[in-house]
Symmetry: C2
Subunit: 306 residues, 2 copies
């Protein structure tokens, strides 16, 4: 359980606690400790709502923050999006989603790098506490998974200086192996931590239970990650899973040991929000208000370590 004696310092790189962008993060994490119910909503969970409607609902229900998607922010303009969030007293706990660096040719790879740099500028404007960065899939026609992974690493290295300059942490997110071909060529926390080891300051990892719950080395890799964990995403794995992309479950409706994984994450030093991210044809078909009240009820009932 988080306590007031737990270190309120949350750094991306424990070897450099003086790094200026750490201050914003540290302040937000301190806020997280004060609210054990620290809950953030990834707005993809309630895509039946527009941006403003979703933000206002989250504020009305007392949530800590939101994690918007880029299309929403760009459509409004980052400044206006930020104004709406601030007017409702919320934080932007994450910004979805960057990365996706593999491409068939050099021009495509450069375009992805340029696009990620623009996204970092947007993240800075909306004061996002981090950008979620995923691997991307194989280039069209390719079967070279190792090559795609190399392109991902090269892309992260290319945008990292700009992310550091803008004080925007990059939360590297491994995706479930069933997405290795078309969305996330990096499947394990181990690989993302290897990249953090290699590239250093400014990088952290996002631990999404949906992507990682099956990993037999999960406990070991969460401990290894330590304070480099900068995001914790939750939902559940349904049995059966009817759709490979859009059948994530509400917390408590599936088989993931949410309490157990949260305990490991807290033991590693992370005290930040849990961000609910549910892509679900079933939940998208319900009223947003029903989704949000269910999220809050389940978060309080099945997501906290005992």
């Amino acid at each position: 359980m988080p306590t007031a004696t737990a270190s309120p310092q949350h750094t991306l790189d424990s070897t450099d606690r003086s790094s200026p962008y750490v201050e914003r993060k540290a302040a937000s994490i301190t806020q997280g400790i004060m609210s054990i119910e620290g809950l953030s909503l990834n707005l993809a969970t309630v895509r039946q709502w527009g941006f403003r409607e979703a933000v206002e609902a989250c504020a009305r229900h007392g949530l800590t923050g939101i994690a918007p998607w880029r299309e929403q922010v760009v459509a409004l303009g980052p400044k206006e999006a930020s104004r709406i969030v601030k007017a409702n007293g919320l934080r932007v706990t994450g910004y979805c989603r960057g990365g996706l660096f593999p491409a068939a040719d050099a021009a495509g790879r450069q375009a992805a790098i340029d696009d990620n740099r623009r996204m970092i500028d947007e993240a800075s404007t909306i004061e996002a506490e981090g950008i979620v960065v995923i691997g991307g899939g194989l280039p069209e026609g390719s079967r070279d998974l190792a090559g795609a992974r190399k392109m991902f690493a090269d892309g992260v290295a290319a945008v990292l200086p700009h992310a550091r300059a803008c004080k925007v942490p990059l939360a590297l997110e491994p995706l479930h192996p069933m997405y290795a071909a078309d969305r996330g060529c990096i499947s394990t926390l181990s690989e993302m931590l290897d990249l953090c080891d290699l590239l250093g300051e400014g990088l952290g990892v996002a631990v999404d239970v949906y992507h990682l719950w099956w990993d037999p080395t999960l406990a070991q890799q969460i401990a290894r990650a330590g304070r480099r964990i900068i995001a914790h995403h939750i939902c559940d794995w349904l049995v059966p899973t009817k759709d490979i992309l859009n059948d994530r479950g509400m917390m408590g409706d599936g088989v993931i040991d949410l309490r157990g994984i949260r305990a490991l994450i807290e033991a590693a030093g992370y005290r930040g929000v849990q961000e609910v991210e549910i892509f679900s044809n079933d939940w998208w078909a319900k009223p947003g208000e029903e989704v949000l009240t269910t999220v809050i009820e389940r978060f309080n009932r099945v997501c906290m370590p005992l």
Copy 2:
């Protein structure tokens, strides 16, 4: 590439090459070396055909062997099934599928153990070169994946003496992480090899490309497996994948580097057949003859190391 100078000995445990059940396997592998086109068909691939029809078609097309499912063999009776296979000059390169040891209570676990022992007897009768053994899912209502893995290991240990006595190798098959909840709680080759290390003679592993192609440690674990590889299953990963269970692809239609993985497997010392196992609503809807001729064409065109 396999050559006549490669060792024709294929043993389950390189520390005990005198083990009697190795002889059958060694003889079959020698045959595999003589026929570089060594192709076996898992009969689930052509479930539009009955057992006899499928076996006769495989023989007519010159395949090396078949891998039947238990329901088919038990329905005919193992002796009659074996007679049909032998009359057509085929081998039984694998028998599907055992394992599935996790259960909610001790009676359930014992029932699974007893059932696996009966399956070993059947495998002996049909002279199967191995039984494919998968993890099984979480017991009803459980979120304890580590506990399920322990039940799997205990189950394998419980049936292994009988498998050894019957000279039936157990091919431990990790399943894709998307099946961890309901079919295979063991997701990685690394875990299965750990169990082989622990329990020793009589165990090997099945390398199914569909389950393992995404694993960043695959090359390393195949090398580690060495001569403990006793089955190599092939199909392909489609983009997009429309169904989590029954949308496997024909070789060449997806993104798996089949040649590359086969090269790793041969470098590890395995020279046995490639077994085609395609669960596919699309292919099941076509005539069996079309499926089989496509399998043969693709096997020759995209599955052999260059």
